[in-house]
Symmetry: C2
Subunit: 700 residues, 2 copies
């Protein structure tokens, strides 16, 4: 049994009694805030109070008055359910939250929602809550910081650049259990991210109480196996006496910052809910209000007035708000170094200014490639690769890679170096720590969350590729891109049954529809090479949301542009446009296709014309963009008076009734595919000009 009756805290140099009182204030604010709303997670916020306080008040370089200062250290609360851990530090440090915000925890319109939300509360670096994401986000931030340094100040000696800063992430048992953290942590080891420190709150309690039923692995040994620098701290002193030794933790953080070839892992054994006398160390303290009696008992134990709630003494808040002065001072010191750099590096400074303003480089659109008409055509994935190669020189902020499918996803701009520690280069991929081609390994979920971390860090703009079917592996991260409105680009190739021989496990029949269900995600499926170029352009212009670019494995014909009745690609940005109108301009039927199936609509138009049926072909690369257009434009593309409509997409029908209406027909595949060549599958499963023409006749 651990003696947990009282803390015999050991504190680092400079720590005062007022700091200790502030920490106890944090614990009680957490308990009070959850008690007031009646639900939430008090336990971790109580036991991690000294850890968060140490980081925010003593260890991190940041400035509450300028929470977006690019030189700041970043903090990620991977265990987002313990949002109070963060909110209370933002309150104490003076980032903008006040006591009333804490009192409004988890209520309508408050700045203190159940989980920390990016863009909603100043000082929240990223949205967390779905477990494991935060660890991967932090890995992304650490990668972004290194890339940013490489673009702006590559020759500075270690620790001397204004672009040197540190990423801290605080994680729980749940974060450690989720596979996404394994993926990201293994990659962080390969990448030797020495600017990253993970503190693992090893409290051995989750919702089902004692984690012995589900988590018995040696987590520290696992991180050693990943190639991290590992330190272990046990505040229970081998389950004998609980002692919050902040000196040890502070020393460990300093050691971690000094490690230059690996990320750092600090396993910190704590007791959840400490020092609540009855509920500490229980699953109940994790996810429920403690109850009035328990809170009163805790207040008495800590020398606070049990009858008061949300008690913060003037001297405590005055003391902690001192962070504003210290932060301003730190930023002033940084500004000096930054100015020196800016004067010495005017070109890099111009790039930096563009990063901060989140602007694209002037004239970038001139670099976009275009293609002549070609019935044989090329795959849209290949066209996408050409776009990336063409943009690479004019858009240094654009970088990315693949989850081990570089050649298949065409995500490598030709001739660009890989982002790799020098000793990780291979015969196939050379580069260095400041390269731009990312190698995620076969880790789709981490790839998504790492991209979120990269973009939210600021500076650069990431993309990442895999097969469309594996968008299923990464939806947790994709949803967060959309919820946070961060402009990352998912390059999903090998769409539909067109990928062929790999068979049903790899044929994404339902994925396009399922991705369209995610609010705020643009799902873009271009029909040929030129649409692909225009699609990339519009995706890059949209700096306020993520996109999924859905690309074919197989070659697609390249249609003429601006001649022979074909529209140019300016309509792509509007989501849908008349690609090829009915002869005479008054359609009897509207044929609407996306991606590789637009060619069948074009073929059907010719078949129908021979029968005297006037058919318009609409290419609809992005339904979300089309929905944003005004009614006049939408009606000009799909006239409300023309009820005969056919949609054709090699995926499930779900969602197409909205477009074609009661009288329309949907050419779709509502079952799994098979293993055969793509051409054979299109034939067997009813995708051709003839089937589209037949559907049009039915619809008329």
């Amino acid at each position: 049994m651990t003696d947990t009756s009282a803390s015999t805290a050991v504190v680092p140099e400079g720590w005062t009694d007022l700091d200790s009182k502030a920490v106890d204030t944090v614990r009680l604010l957490a308990a009070d805030a959850v008690q007031k709303v009646g639900n939430g997670h008090p336990g971790t916020a109580m036991s991690l109070a000294p850890v968060a306080y140490l980081l925010f008040q003593k260890e991190m370089r940041h400035n509450p008055a300028e929470a977006h200062w690019p030189g700041r250290d970043r903090f990620v609360l991977s265990c987002g359910h313990s949002s109070l851990t963060l909110y209370i530090q933002l309150y104490l440090g003076g980032f903008g939250l006040e006591l009333d915000d804490l009192k409004a925890l988890r209520t309508w319109g408050s700045r203190t929602p159940g989980h920390p939300e990016y863009g909603h509360t100043t000082g929240v670096e990223i949205t967390t809550g779905p477990l494991g994401q935060g660890i991967a986000n932090a890995v992304g931030m650490a990668m972004a910081a290194r890339r940013e340094r490489g673009l702006l100040d590559p020759d500075a000696a270690p620790g001397t650049s204004p672009f040197d800063h540190h990423i801290y992430v605080l994680a729980s048992d749940g974060d450690i259990e989720e596979g996404i953290s394994s993926e990201a942590s293994s990659l962080a080891g390969t990448q030797r991210l020495d600017n990253l420190t993970l503190i693992y709150d090893n409290n051995r309690i989750s919702i089902e109480d004692d984690t012995n039923i589900a988590l018995t692995e040696d987590v520290a040994a696992r991180y050693e196996a990943y190639g991290w620098h590992v330190q272990t701290i046990d505040w229970t002193n081998g389950e004998t006496q609980y002692e919050e030794n902040l000196k040890t933790l502070s020393d460990a953080l300093e050691t971690a910052r000094g490690v230059t070839d690996r990320p750092s892992f600090i396993s910190l054994r704590t007791i959840i809910g400490w020092p609540a006398p009855k509920k500490q160390g229980t699953g109940k303290a994790h996810g429920s209000a403690l109850g009035d009696d328990e809170i009163k008992a805790t207040k008495e134990l800590l020398g606070f007035d049990p009858e008061q709630t949300f008690e913060v003494s003037d001297e405590v808040i005055a003391h902690t708000r001192g962070l504003r002065d210290r932060g301003a001072q730190a930023q002033a010191v940084w500004e000096e170094s930054f100015q020196g750099w800016a004067e010495a590096n005017p070109d890099a400074k111009a790039l930096y200014d563009r990063f901060v303003a989140d602007e694209l480089s002037p004239g970038w659109e001139d670099a976009l490639p275009s293609w002549d008409a070609d019935p044989k055509g090329i795959a849209t994935r290949a066209a996408s690769g050409k776009v990336l190669t063409a943009l690479a020189p004019v858009m240094p902020e654009l970088w990315g890679g693949s989850a081990d499918l570089a050649e298949s996803n065409n995500t490598t701009p030709e001739g660009e170096p890989s982002f790799l520690p020098t000793d990780r280069q291979t015969k196939a991929f050379s580069g260095g720590p400041y390269g731009r081609v990312l190698h995620f390994g076969i880790r789709e979920h981490a790839m998504g969350a790492i991209m979120n971390g990269i973009k939210v860090h600021g500076g650069t703009r990431p993309y990442g590729g895999t097969f469309l079917t594996f968008s299923d592996y990464m939806r947790g991260a994709v949803r967060l891109s959309a919820l946070m409105r961060v402009p990352v680009t998912y390059v999903w190739t090998h769409d539909s049954i067109g990928l062929g021989e790999d068979g049903p496990t790899h044929q994404p029949v339902e994925h396009v529809a399922a991705l369209r269900a995610i609010p705020g995600l643009d799902v873009v499926r271009p029909a040929d090479a030129n649409e692909t170029s225009a699609a990339w352009a519009q995706i890059l212009r949209n700096g306020d949301r993520p996109a999924g670019l859905i690309l074919s494995r197989q070659n697609l014909p390249i249609v003429p542009r601006g001649t022979d009745g074909y529209a140019d690609t300016s309509g792509v940005a509007k989501g849908a446009y008349v690609l090829l109108d009915a002869e005479g301009g008054t359609p009897d039927v509207v044929l609407i296709g996306t991606g590789s199936e637009v060619q069948y609509a074009v073929a059907a138009r010719a078949t129908l014309a021979a029968e005297g049926i006037a058919a318009r072909v609409v290419s609809m690369p992005c339904r979300e963009w089309f929905d944003e257009q005004d009614r006049d434009y939408r009606d000009s593309v799909i006239p409300p008076t023309v009820k005969a409509r056919v949609s054709v997409e090699a995926g499930v029908a779900l969602g197409w009734r909205d477009i074609v209406g009661d009288a329309g027909r949907v050419v779709s595949i509502d079952h799994y595919g098979a293993s055969a060549s793509g051409a054979k599958l299109f034939e067997e499963f009813g995708f051709s000009g003839d089937t589209v023409a037949a559907a049009a006749r039915e619809s008329l």
Copy 2:
């Protein structure tokens, strides 16, 4: 540099030259098959030829003539892209594949699709290909085997029961990188699954060639950290000379089978594509045909005729088909032990017969609970918990648990023991190795794949719970449940914004629609406690497909049944039914709701009735079941003549136009939620009787 010019194989006792020739035959069949179709994965099938051959011909207990013999060892090819590794053994061993099947690799209608497919090819235990799944499936099989033994023969000494068998899984670098394998492997360590052996093909090559760019962790050390028994074999002998030492591997397998307290991990260093002279050890050998010249050179090297393809000597096939005799003999020995057990355990034998027939126990429906009308009601998750508790005694095959949300998901039948090694019990959860309550930890993706493995193993029927929002974390596994048509049940609670304070990260607005996109998955969202009971009943009756049961966190009113105009619950099994008809039975408008929003349709009906508008209320718990009904029934529920229709569901509109038609209205939420009480959110986001009534007026 490794000397890879020739194998100096060391072989186990009883291995003959004919075995070696058979192994070389395997390598060349793999190369030929991929070359013939022009695409596929030859490399791993070549270098793992001796490993697969050793397992199938020498190590495993199975019988080609009765591939479903319940006493057999199981083999899972987690690296499903190397399907030839499995197909060629099924051919050699005489499981039903012939040389023509290998020649038809990856073509329309063949028994040898790109990835192994469950139910399609005899001897394929489970569909694999999406990486990482197979490891988790194998963990599920190992758990199922232990549970089965516990139900049928718990008192037998280790190794003496007819229900003792072993699970083998072969995995690649990609499987190791995917997070799902980390989740499952950690849990396997906690569960002490001593009937599981994983062979890791450590070939250091993936599609992007040398894995040094993305995988540098010490995989063996990681598995040691998980608590596995770890053995390491290096066929490159420290990168000096390649030697396929099968004696060492055979010994390691024997050692693994002898370990009684842990699963076993064997890291086997190989060279992909060995012995192809030029392409061995390259990413090209992984995923492309080798080319005629390289194949000819390999044939010459191995002493085969370079001009012949698909060469199998008569003596080789006669030798390997000897497995049929050995398998029959093994099964005969087993049958004897099985008969002894059956005579001594007639009750268990009856249960076993029911397992094998995949039948439900007679009279199980009598145990289903029902509830009286109650305006306050209970949450459907709570009703689901009562159903599980009621079914537990009559349905021993039904077992499951939660990804660390047992109390929230109500997945624990009252009083039932946990499935845990004795030393993993906690204060909160007692049990033993043969218990029935599963604790997955916070590992949703592995939970899904483990359930697939459990069900495919045979014997029992699993369910697993988490919050609906985290269905995103497990879609990869859910899709495979549907593709394989295995009846596992996903219990997804805390549906919609109704969950309240946890906020948008936890509020699944798009998930119901996105899950409906998956072909073959029944998405079931009951409206009250009695519908929940009826929904569970129908899910259990459907033995040929998975279901997702979508349940509320919040209380839902329990409507009367069979009185006051309300229908009984017999319509639930039909997917949709008239819950409460318009007065007079001729509706002006049809109001269609699911789950927690059916109550708003009921309220709107009363409001509209007061205005003289006759509204019918349709409860639609499962669209997939409704779609299976004949047109007469469907038209009787939603008359084609009544164009005024309203749907109400607290999720995105996607898919509802199909039901309500052009004239209908969709009451939906097409954006993310917020952090506040569920009641507040329903109000703010427009879900009430009034909004449904207003939509009905618009639709009229």
